[in-house]
Symmetry: C2
Subunit: 368 residues, 2 copies
C-alpha cells in the first residue's frame, strides 16, 4: 500500500516537473528511483554493526539525491542472520551486510576476507583490499554466486575473549568449551578445545551456566553491553584470532549492474567511507568501555602468555595450510594473502610496531 502510494506521488511530481520544463521554469525532474532492500546478520540497533548498515543506507540516499533508497532489515526481520548471503545471491534482496566467515560452509575462501588468525590488522587488510588486489580476488570468489562484495567496516584488533579460569599454558585449551567462529575456532579445536557455535543471544546464559568455559565476541564496546563480565572474570588480550575483522556489504550482481555508473560508484564510495567510519567508532568507543570494565566491574584484564601465543601461532599456520588445501580457491586466496603480508609486514614492524613500543608506557593498565 505505502509503496504504491509513494509511486503515485512520484509520478505526479515527475509530471509536474516535465510541465514546468516545457514552460521554461527551473527544472526539478524526478529521476528514476531505485528501491532496494538490505538484509543483515546483525541484531537491531547493534552499535556500529547494524547502525553502520543503517548509516550506509541513509548516506546512499542523501548522496544520490534520493534516487536510491535502501530499506534495511536486521537479522530475522526478513531472512535469518545466516541466510543473508543466499538472499543476495538468489536475488531475494538486492544487498546484504555481514562478514565473510559466516558463509564458510558454502564459500570456504570467504573466510580470508573477514578474519585470519595472526593475520592482517585493519590497516593491512584495507591495504590488501584497495591497493594490493585483495578486493578483485574477493570479487572472483563471490562471482559464481552472483554476489559483488565491498568492505564496509572493520572492528579493529579484537579482544581475546572471556574465560572462567586463568589461561596459563597452551594445555589449558584442552577440553575448553569455547564459543569462537571461523578459522580461529579451527585453531582452538587443534589446541584441544571444544568449539561451540552459538548466536549472540544465547552466549551469556551458556557462559553463566557453565555450558561454555569461554567465549569471544568483539571488543570492550560490545562486550560491556553483552554483560559477559558477570559470567566470566578473566578478560584476555590481544585477539589473535581476529586482529582486524572486515565487515562486508554485498550486492546482487544483476541489481548492481543494472544501475547507472554513478550510482554504482556511490555505493562503492559510501561503502569505503562507512568502512573508515566504523573503525573510528570502535577506536573511540573501546577505550572508554575498557576503562569502565576495569574500574566499575573489576574485570581481570590479562595478556595471553607469550609461549601460548607462539604455540597458537604455529597451530594457526598449520590450520590455514590445511584449510587452503581443501579447495583450489582457498589455496589461491591464502597464497595471495601470504604474499601481500610478506610485502607489507616489514613496514608494519618498522613503522607502527616500533612506534607503539616508543609510546607503550604512556598508558599504564590497571590490573586487579
Amino acid at each position: 500500500m505505502k509503496r504504491r502510494e509513494f509511486l503515485t506521488k512520484t509520478g505526479t511530481a515527475a509530471a509536474a516537473a516535465v510541465a514546468a520544463s516545457a514552460l521554461g521554469a527551473p527544472a526539478v525532474i524526478a529521476q528514476p528511483k531505485y528501491q532496494w532492500k538490505m538484509v543483515t546478520t546483525w541484531p537491531p540497533n547493534m552499535p556500529v554493526l547494524q547502525t553502520g548498515a543503517d548509516r550506509f543506507a541513509k548516506r546512499v540516499e542523501e548522496v544520490s539525491e534520493g534516487r536510491m533508497k535502501i530499506q534495511v532489515f536486521a537479522a530475522g526481520e526478513l531472512v535469518p542472520a545466516l541466510g543473508v548471503f543466499d538472499a543476495v545471491s538468489d536475488g531475494t534482496v538486492e544487498c546484504g551486510s555481514g562478514a565473510g566467515y559466516y558463509w564458510a560452509g558454502k564459500v570456504p575462501a570467504a573466510q580470508w576476507f573477514s578474519a585470519v588468525p595472526f593475520g592482517f590488522n585493519p590497516q593491512g587488510i584495507n591495504a590488501w583490499f584497495y591497493s594490493g588486489g585483495g578486493l578483485q580476488l574477493w570479487e572472483e570468489v563471490y562471482a559464481p554466486f552472483n554476489v559483488i562484495p565491498r568492505p564496509q567496516g572493520n572492528t579493529g584488533v579484537q579482544m581475546g575473549g572471556w574465560f572462567r579460569k586463568e589461561m596459563k599454558t597452551i594445555d589449558d585449551f584442552k577440553g575448553l568449551k569455547m564459543r569462537i567462529p571461523g578459522l580461529g575456532g579451527k585453531v582452538v579445536a587443534k589446541a584441544g578445545g571444544t568449539v561451540v557455535l552459538l548466536a549472540g543471544g544465547e552466549i551469556f546464559t551458556s557462559l553463566e551456566r557453565g555450558v561454555l568455559d569461554a567465549t569471544e565476541w568483539v571488543g570492550p564496546l560490545h562486550d560491556l553491553r553483552m554483560g559477559f563480565y558477570k559470567a566470566a572474570s578473566y578478560y584476555y588480550y590481544p585477539g589473535w584470532h581476529e586482529p582486524g575483522t572486515c565487515l562486508e556489504v554485498m550486492f546482487n550482481k544483476k541489481a548492481y549492474e543494472g544501475l547507472p555508473r554513478d550510482l554504482q560508484l556511490i555505493l562503492d564510495t559510501v561503502a569505503a567511507e562507512t568502512n573508515l567510519w566504523s573503525l573510528c567508532e570502535f577506536e573511540a568507543g573501546n577505550g572508554a568501555a575498557l576503562q569502565s570494565l576495569i574500574a566499575d566491574h573489576n574485570v581481570n584484564l590479562l595478556q595471553f602468555p607469550e609461549a601460548m601465543m607462539d604455540a597458537l601461532r604455529k597451530m594457526a599456520e598449520e590450520t590455514l595450510e590445511e584449510e587452503a588445501d581443501k579447495d583450489p580457491m582457498s589455496r589461491k586466496v591464502h597464497d595471495a594473502y601470504k604474499k601481500f603480508k610478506a610485502q607489507v609486514g616489514i613496514w608494519g614492524t618498522v613503522a607502527d610496531s616500533a612506534y607503539f613500543k616508543v609510546i607503550a608506557d604512556e598508558y599504564q593498565l590497571k590490573k586487579s
Copy 2:
C-alpha cells in the same frame, strides 16, 4: 575558449532534453554544472599526495554524474605551494589540498590537525576526527578564514629521517642542521638542532653538499624516489615527529555553502574515501620500497635508541605546552587532543600494540 565551448554544448543538450521531456520521452536533463579549481601544495604527479588530489577530483566528477568538475593545479601552477590556504580563504579558488602545519604562521592551531610529535597514529587521528569531535574543532579553527577542512589522506607512521652520521644519544642533535617542519622541528630545535626549512626540490642537493646533516621526508615510498640514500646512509625509524600525518582538502566556505546538500555530501564522502585509500597506498608501497632501499641501496636501517626517544618525548611534551600557551585556540585544541588521546590510548596499548608484539618476530629486518 574551451570553457565557453563546453557551456554552449551543455546549453544545447539541456534544451534538447527539455524538448524531449515535453514530448514524453525519457528525460535526461542536464543539471546545473559547478566548475571548481583546486590548488595543492604538492609537486605534479607526486605519488599519493598529488595523485590523491587528482583522484579525488575525478571521483567527485563521476559520482556527481558530471554535475561537478574540479580542475586540479599542482604547486606553482596557479599559486605557490604555501599560498594554498590564502587562495582558498579569499576565494581565488574554491578548494585546495595540503597539510595543516603549512599554515602554522597564520593559524598556529592548524598544526595539531596534521602531525603531533608522539601523538596519534592514523587510526587514532581518524577516530578523533570522525568519532571524537576533532573535525568539528578543526572547522572552528578554520572558520574565521572562511575555510572548511576535511581529512583527505594520511601518510601513516613516517620514517625518522636520513642522517649523515649515526645518532647515538640526544646530544647528537646539538648543532645538527636538519630539515624538519612543524612541531617536530620545534622539538629538534629544543634538543639543540638547527632547523632548516627547504622545499622538496632543494633538499637532496643540500644534503649531498653537507649544508644539511639530516632530513626527514615521508616514508620509504617517497624517500626512495627522492634518492636520499645517495647523500646520507643512516635511515632511522620510527617517525616520532609525524606518526600519522593527516593531509587535508579545504573548501572556500561560500563556495561550499552554495552547493546543494547532496554535492556537499559527495565532497565529504569522497574526501573520506580518499583518506582511506591514501593510507592503503602508503601501506602497500612502503614495504616494497623499504626492502629495495635495504637490499639494492645498502641503506643502514636503524632504530632510534630508547633513551633518545625518552628524551625527545619529554621535550615534545614541553614544546606542545609552550606552543599551546601562545594562543587560546591552540590551547583549546591541544587540551581536546590530549583528552581524546587519554580516552583511546589504553585501547591502543591493549589491542594494536600487544598484537604487534605477538607478530613482531615474523619479519626480520636485514641490517647491514
